[in-house]
Structures are given as C-alpha cells and as structure tokens.
C-alpha cells in the first residue's frame, strides 16, 4: 500500500475506533444514570426494581407525615389514588412540601416495600405540576381530588 494511503487509513481507523469507544462510554454512562419514574400503583404491582435509583411521585397523603423523636428522620405516604407508598427520609424537606400536594422523591425501593428517599422535591408554584405526577394522578384518577399541586426541585 502507498505510504500516504496507509497513513490516511491509519488516521481514519483511529478516528472510527476513537469515536465508537467514546460513543459506547457515553451511552453506558447515560444508561447507568437514567432514573425511571414509577407511580405508587406500579410499585404496588411489583414493576419497580429494588436497589436501583428511581423516582417516585404523587400526592402526599394528609396526616401521614411523622417525625422521629430526635434527629431528622421522618416518613410520609405518597398516593396516586390507586395505591400508597411509604417513604422514609432523613433530612430537610423542601419549603413547599405540604400534605395533600404533589411531590417527587428520588431514592431506592427497599426489599420491605418502603421507599428510601435521598432527595425530596416539592412544588414550585401553584400552576406547575411535574408532568410525571400529573400523568400518574390522571391514570389513577379520582374526580374528588383536584390536581392542584406543582413541583420544585429542592435546590
């Protein structure tokens, strides 16, 4: 092969290999860090994986918020009007967290069926509702419950 051609071939091969390796790494990183959203009904049906970071959301059940005697442990229940999910959290709730309002939590499902939240996100303004929560509530629709909540990242 002509040396110039050979050199070009090497360059092209290098670019192709490099680009595919980079693409593979990027997609791997992406798929490892995708957090799926599950409403309580799907979790109750056993569709959510355990031990992987997922997001859940719905309305906070009124009267379900309980705090520990000391420390910052707390628990509350989230509902999509079809099923409830018990959420455990240690830390500070967002300012706009309220019972009866929309909430999204990031964390993992434990073998005992409870959800351990690392992060709780609550409403941003009253016109805004995270699309996931809206959809989850629509699916489990109960005409008695107004879709009044919204969401805000706890930043």
């Amino acid at each position: 092969m002509h040396p110039v051609r050979r050199q070009r071939l090497m360059i092209v091969a290098f670019i192709v290999v490099g680009a595919s390796a980079a693409a593979a790494l990027i997609f791997r990183a992406l798929s490892e860090n995708m957090n799926f959203f599950y409403p309580p009904a799907q979790i109750a049906a056993g569709e959510a994986p355990e031990g992987r970071t997922i997001r859940i959301g719905g309305l906070v059940v009124p009267g379900s918020l309980k705090r520990a005697e000391s420390g910052l442990d707390l628990e509350f229940r989230v509902t999509d009007n079809k099923a409830d999910l018990q959420v455990d959290f240690r830390g500070i709730l967002p300012d706009l967290f309220a019972e009866g309002k929309g909430v999204v939590a990031v964390g993992e499902l434990l073998p005992n069926g409870r959800f351990k939240a690392d992060q709780v996100l609550a409403k941003h303004d009253e016109n805004y509702m995270p699309p996931e929560v809206h959809e989850a509530l629509k699916k489990g629709a109960d005409p008695g419950v107004a879709l009044g909540g919204g969401a805000r990242n706890d930043r």
Partner: protein, 651 residues
Amino acid sequence: MIVELGHFALILAFGLALAQAALPMAGVLRGVRAWSGAAVPLACGQFLFVLVSFACLAHAFLTDDFSVRLVATNSNTLLPAWYKFSALWGNHEGSMLLWLTILAGWSSAVALIGKDLPIEMRARVLSVMGMIAVGFHLFVLLTSNPFLRSFPNVPEEGRDLNPLLQDIGLVMHPPMLYLGYVGFSVAFSFALAALWSGRLDTAWARWSRPWTTAAWLFLSVGITLGSWWAYYELGWGGWWFWDPVENASFMPWLAGTALLHSLAVTEKRGLFRSWAVLLAIMTFSLSLLGTFLVRSGILTSVHAFATDPERGSFVLAFLGVVVGGSLTLYALRAPQSSGPAGYSLLSREAALLANNVLLVVAMATVLLGTLAPLVVSAMDLGRISVGPPYFNLMFVPLMSLLAVAMGVGPLMRWRDSSGASLRAMLAVPAASCLVIAIAFPFTYAGHWHAGAALTAGLTAWLAATLVAGLRQRLRERGGLRALPMLGFAYWGMVVAHVGFAFSMAGAGLTSIYSDERDVRMSAGDSVTLGAYEFSFLRTRHVDGPNYSAERGEFTVKNVSGERVRHLKAEKRDYHSQMGNVMTEAGIAPGFLRDLYVSLGEPIGDGSWAVRVHHKPFVRWLWIGGVLMGAGGALTLFDRRYRRPSAQQPVR
C-alpha cells in the same frame, strides 16, 4: 390607555420587522441600493417601537395596574419598586417581550455600529435578523400577549411575584442571559448572510468575531449570575444542578465558545470556514432549543413556567424552520474546500481544533443527557430523568483535556511550531503542574485525593503556561518595554483563560472538599463541621416589607475558639395570596471558603432542622465567570475593531 398603546406599538414594531426582513432582501436581489439602505432606519424604528411597548408594560407594573392580567398575577402593591420592574420578566409573557426588545436592540446595534460593512452585507444581515424578529413577534402577539386585560373583574391586589424571584439576582440574571442568547442571533445572521452572498471569507470572520464575543461575554456573565443566585437564594448551597434549563443555557455557551475560537482561525488563516458557519448555526439553534425547552414546559425544571402546549409547538415549529432553512442554505452554499493552507500537528490551528472538538463533544453529551428524557418518553418507554453523575462523569475528562490543550494552544505558532522550542517553554509549566498536583492535596487537606490533585495540577498548568506565553511574547518584542503594546486581544485571552482556570478550580475543589450536615438543633446546641463549630443562639421574629420571618442566629468559631462570624438565616413567609415560604440562607463569604447556614423547618419542641455547610473555593466559580466576561470585553477594545477600514492583509 397606556397599555393599549404598548400593544399597538408592538404591532407596529411587528410591521417594521416584516419590512426589515423583506425590503433589504428585495434590495439585494434587485440591486436597488435605496432598499438595501432602508435596513438601517427599519431596524432602528423596530427597536424604538418595541422599546415603547416595553416601557408601557413597565409603566403598568410600576403603577400596579391590576387590570392587566400579567401585572395582577405577578406583582403586588407591597413589592418594592425595583422588584415591580423586574417582575416584568419574571413570567413567560414579559420575558418574551424582554427577548424581543433585546433582539431589536442587537439589530439596531448592528445597523448603527456596523457602518463600515458593505451596504449589501449589512442589508443581508439585517434582513436575516428581521426574519428572526418576525418569528418572535408572531410568537408574542399570537400566543403570549403580555397586554391582556381582565375586565371587568379587576382584582384589588396582585398575586405577588414568586418570592424566589424577589432578589437582585433576578433583576440581573435574565437580561444578561438573554443578551447572550439573543446576541448569538447576530453571529447566526452574519453566517447566513455570508452563505447567501457566497463570500465566506476572512472579512466575514473579522466582522462577526466581535459580535460573537459580545454575545458570549453576556452569556458567560448571565450563567454566572444564575449560578450565584441559585447558591444563595434557593437556600441549599448548590451552584449547578444539571437542570434541563441550566443545560439549555450551557449548551449555547459551549458551542459559542467553540465558535469564538474557530472564528479566530478563520480570520487569521482562512481555515475552518464551513465549520465556523455550522457552529454559528448550531449556537443560535441551541439558544432557540433552550427557549423551546423552557417555554414548552416539556421538561421538569425549576425554571418551567406554567405550561402551554400551543406555545411549545410554535417554538418547535420556528426552531424547525430556522434549523431546516439554515442547514439547507448551508448544504447548498458551504464552500467545498478550505483552500490550500495546511497546518501541522504542532500548530495553533491544531490546538484550536482540539478545543473545538472537545467543546462540541461536551455540548453533545449535555444535549444527549437533556433530551434523553424526551426521547424515552416520546417512545413510550416510561418517564426518566438523567442524574448529575452522568454529566459529572463526562465533564471531568473532557474539561481536563480541554485545560491541557488550553495551556499549550497560546504557546503554539500558526501553521507550524518547532517541537524543541515548545519543549523548552513547557518544561517549567509541566514541572510546576506536577509539583502542585502532588503537594496540594497534602498541604490543604493532609491526605491524598486524586481529583484534587488533578484540579490543582491543571490550574497550575494553565497559570504557568500563561506566564510562559507572556515571557515569550516579551522576549520576541524586546523585553518589558513591549508590555503596553501587547494589545487588548492578547490581554483579553489571558484574562478569560485565567477566568476558566478559576472556574475549573472552584468547581473541582468545592465539589471535593465541601462538607455539609443536616442536624436537629435547639437554641444553645452546637455542631462541629471540619474545623468550624456552629452554635445556634436563638430565633427571633422579624418583619420585612412584604413578609414576616423567623430569624435564626448562629455564631461560628474556628478550632482555636475564636469567633469567626455571626450568621443570620431566615425562614420567610411572604404575605401574598401565594402563601409562599422561603429559606434565606446565612452566608459568610470568603475568598478561600464560605460558611453557610440554612434553616429547614421547625420540628416541635422548639428545635429546628438546620443545614450547615463549609464550602471551600466556591467563590472561585463566579470570580472565574466574571473574569471570562471581562476577558471577552477586553478583546472588543482591540485595535483591529476600532478601525475596521485599515484591514490587515491576509497571508
């Protein structure tokens, strides 16, 4: 009455935008100079009427005219005047009017400052800008009219501005960001005008470079302000969240930074021409994509205003027209070859190519992470979000490589530089990089940390290579006497690169060494965080102009027991119909570290949930952002932009 006047002025401005798009174009096509020349008064007239419209809306906000729906939903009589004014753009309709005002402003700036452009070129650029303006005028008038009245049910009182937005950060952040976003429309218009005329030459690069730099510097400052605002106003000490809307502003910044650097190559060497055009198209398209993401409410984000599918589809259609149209023009007109000039692997061209590749790959990874949730949801595979670990994983290697290239680039010569002289110049920077990388983690924290070593080493590398570059320049030009003659463009580059080093060091070190704890505290309790002891003294009730608050007072002592700072953190309850509660953090800022306290919620028996932070080097992030903006501003004063008629011959 004034409100209707504003609406009327906006419709007139729309008419002028139509004329600005059509008349100069016809002038260029038919060769009628008078029509081409009309672009200037039309652009200025459009700006004037949009400005009138903006002023009318501002008047409605300042006089609490609650018959205007926008004022009633976003303002309140108790609001300080300053925030009444900024409430104008704290909502969808008003922010789009701000967008239009800035677009018309850039347009008339090109018309007035670009006097040295050939009349046809100016007509082409202004015509393209007129077309963009037509699209946005239609968007505002058809889907987002800010002047809607709510007769006959005029509310007594407005619903108030979201308390998070009642802050100096919000007064400044959106206008700066928009100046940047929209400013890239100028670079885009220059690129399209050059494609249209078929003269994609070094003159084109020289014309569009200062405009690109100006847009870029505003975007840099805008993003920095946003990060700073999130840090102190959202109350929880975060400074970047890889939130879709943050990404939406970051992507044009990455593409714009690449554009800035490739235009340098085009201007100096006539290379990278079609690539630079593509980047200009990409940058502005990403600005529009950002608008689409924010305005459609399609993504979950703190920035999402109330959603409206109609608006989303409008912006998406507009994006389709802009991207489709400009790429078609590109495909038809892009130059096939870059000309005869070649360059070696050890040349400034090669270093800038590396810069471009890295920045575009970084942009692509952000784009992928931002759009993946949309794609997955559109394919009905469920609802996902992409976590920050993905972005961090991508950015650490990419930015490290970028920093390495950034150190070498300015030392290289155009075309070809000798390996021996490079080695000689790089010996000291490489050694200092190594020494600092090894020494820093031990001296700062007392133990090894690979990430901290990488960050410190790269920061030292950037600083040392800049010094080496300065020495080389001075030696070539005859010693220290040459110092005042190095030119604004050179100093601009130095300042901006120092800024990047600061931001990189700040991001790396604060991520690694920050410490935070959530604790339950009652008055009298203390908590130790690293070398600091935070004591909770008491809470007090305080009243602000439009809120009441519980104020927690803290003192912070260092190891030797000296009192370092007294901090006040507040939990505010705003008196408005929204009934919003907000956290106002207590921050002791410092060059080397911030101490940060925020009050969570009261949890019975008089105790509070409290979060305390120790955040080393966090300020470097924003110092860096401001320096990058300042560097951009410096280059605008360079000689070659002051007398564009005295053009440098192209080698």
